[in-house]
């Protein structure tokens, strides 16, 4: 059995292969593997007895899921109305140039994935960027330009401690 199948099986078993747990199973796989490989989804369908179109439909419906490998950090640029009028397109543009990738792409070193999202629900802090659950408010072009380096440095600092 492939590694992917073993991973999927252990997650599916936690939910006793109960089809009502499908969404949770997909969330766990996404968390563990950073994306939903096709092989994993096929295994889920087989093990949970949920038809493949249903599994694929869910996996492509929620933006929390990705069918392509994602980077270690997912940079979500809020493009909701409030952030948009406060200059979110400029922030996005800056990050795209800095990282050399477009929306829904991942840097070749696997460090960053860039995504845009709708309102994050903290408009007063806009324009907002969210990275792996951490919020960076009142972004400016300068702050956006420094953000990737800052994140990399923070992580290194974290491991040295």
């Amino acid at each position: 059995m492939s590694e992917i199948q073993t991973t999927v099986d252990s997650i599916v078993d936690q939910y006793q292969a109960d089809p009502t747990g499908l969404l949770s199973v997909l969330q766990d796989i996404q968390a563990k593997m950073n994306y939903l490989p096709q092989e994993a989804l096929e295994r889920v369908s087989e093990r949970m007895k949920v038809p493949m179109p249903r599994v694929a439909g869910l996996a492509t419906f929620y933006s929390a899921f990705s069918l392509k490998p994602r980077g270690r950090r997912v940079i979500n640029v809020c493009m909701g109305t409030a952030c948009h009028v406060r200059g979110a397109p400029l922030i996005l543009d800056t990050l795209e140039r800095k990282l050399g990738i477009g929306i829904d792409e991942t840097t070749s070193d696997g460090e960053f994935t860039l995504l845009k999202v709708g309102c994050l629900g903290a408009c007063a802090l806009g324009p907002i960027v969210e990275v792996n659950g951490e919020i960076f408010g009142q972004m400016t072009v300068t702050k956006a330009d420094k953000l990737p380096d800052k994140l990399l440095k923070e992580d290194r600092g974290g491991t040295e401690k």
Binding site: Q38, L41, P51, M52, P53, R54, V55, A56, G57, T60, F61, L67
Partner: protein, 252 residues
């Protein structure tokens, strides 16, 4: 006991009016289904009696007055209930329907089926930006394949403007049996089927299916996978499916 059944039937029967005319029907039935049976001409694209209503095309609009409230609602997924007053063809409804036709025409501008239907309601062009798609995302193919055929080859993929109907991962279908039910049910005729002597292709789902030739007369009468599915559903011996329907009746 009999009294019980009588009261139950009474509870099941509801009285309502359509354009002022009093009618009776069964509680919970699709309002559109009832209206069509009564001969009302209500445009609809995503509804078919054989499957669950889905309410996506928004063409089957009617006005329903319930108590003191009147609302415009889709009739295909509106359950019949006691005392409702239905209006099928008010000025308001006609206006809304026209907009819906315009929206559908923007999505799929080049379908003769849709064009002629829209023309019947006086809509020949759209004010909205044309998207030049060929599918209106009515989901009938997906529901027929799942609920009637029982194969589950199709689904909705993605969301928002990227939403699409088809086999998983935009790949050729691996499970379609080539029964052609979706080809038949698609209201804008965008699922094409190609029939060759030895194979059938469901073009939209990129599925090629070898044909089973009749053991007696040699006629390629159905895709083999379709026969296998029928065998699974009926439990009949495979020998039964080796003959075409015509030869099955011949007694030797």
């Amino acid at each position: 006991m009999t009294a019980d059944i009588a009261t139950q039937a009474q509870q099941e029967t509801v009285t309502f009016t359509v354009n002022g005319k009093t009618m009776q029907g069964r509680r919970g039935d699709s309002l559109l289904k009832v209206l069509l049976h009564e001969g009302y001409d209500i445009p609809h694209l995503c509804y078919h009696e054989a499957v669950t209503a889905y309410g996506s095309c928004r063409l089957c609009l009617v006005e329903v007055k319930k108590g003191r409230k009147t609302k415009v609602t889709t009739s295909c997924n509106y359950p019949l209930m006691d005392g409702i007053e239905v209006t099928t063809n008010s000025e308001k409804i006609r206006k809304h329907r026209k907009v819906v036709f315009e929206l559908l025409l923007a999505q799929v501008p080049n379908s003769p089926e849709l064009q002629s239907m829209a023309a019947q309601y006086g809509v020949t062009d759209t004010r909205f930006e044309k998207k030049y798609q060929d599918c209106i995302l009515c989901g009938l193919c997906e529901r027929v394949c799942r609920e009637v055929v029982g194969v589950n080859a199709l689904g909705f993929m993605g969301r928002g403007v990227e939403k699409d109907v088809g086999a998983p991962f935009k790949q050729p279908s691996k499970t379609c049996i080539g029964c052609g039910a979706c080809v038949y049910v698609c209201p804008v005729n965008c699922i094409k089927e190609e029939q060759l002597p030895t194979k059938r292709t469901i073009v939209r789902w990129e599925r090629n299916l070898p044909m089973q030739t009749c053991k007696r007369c040699g006629y390629p009468f159905a895709p083999t996978y379709q026969l296998l599915q029928m065998q699974k559903q009926t439990g009949l011996p495979w020998e039964f499916f080796e003959l075409c329907p015509d030869c099955r009746d011949v007694k030797d």
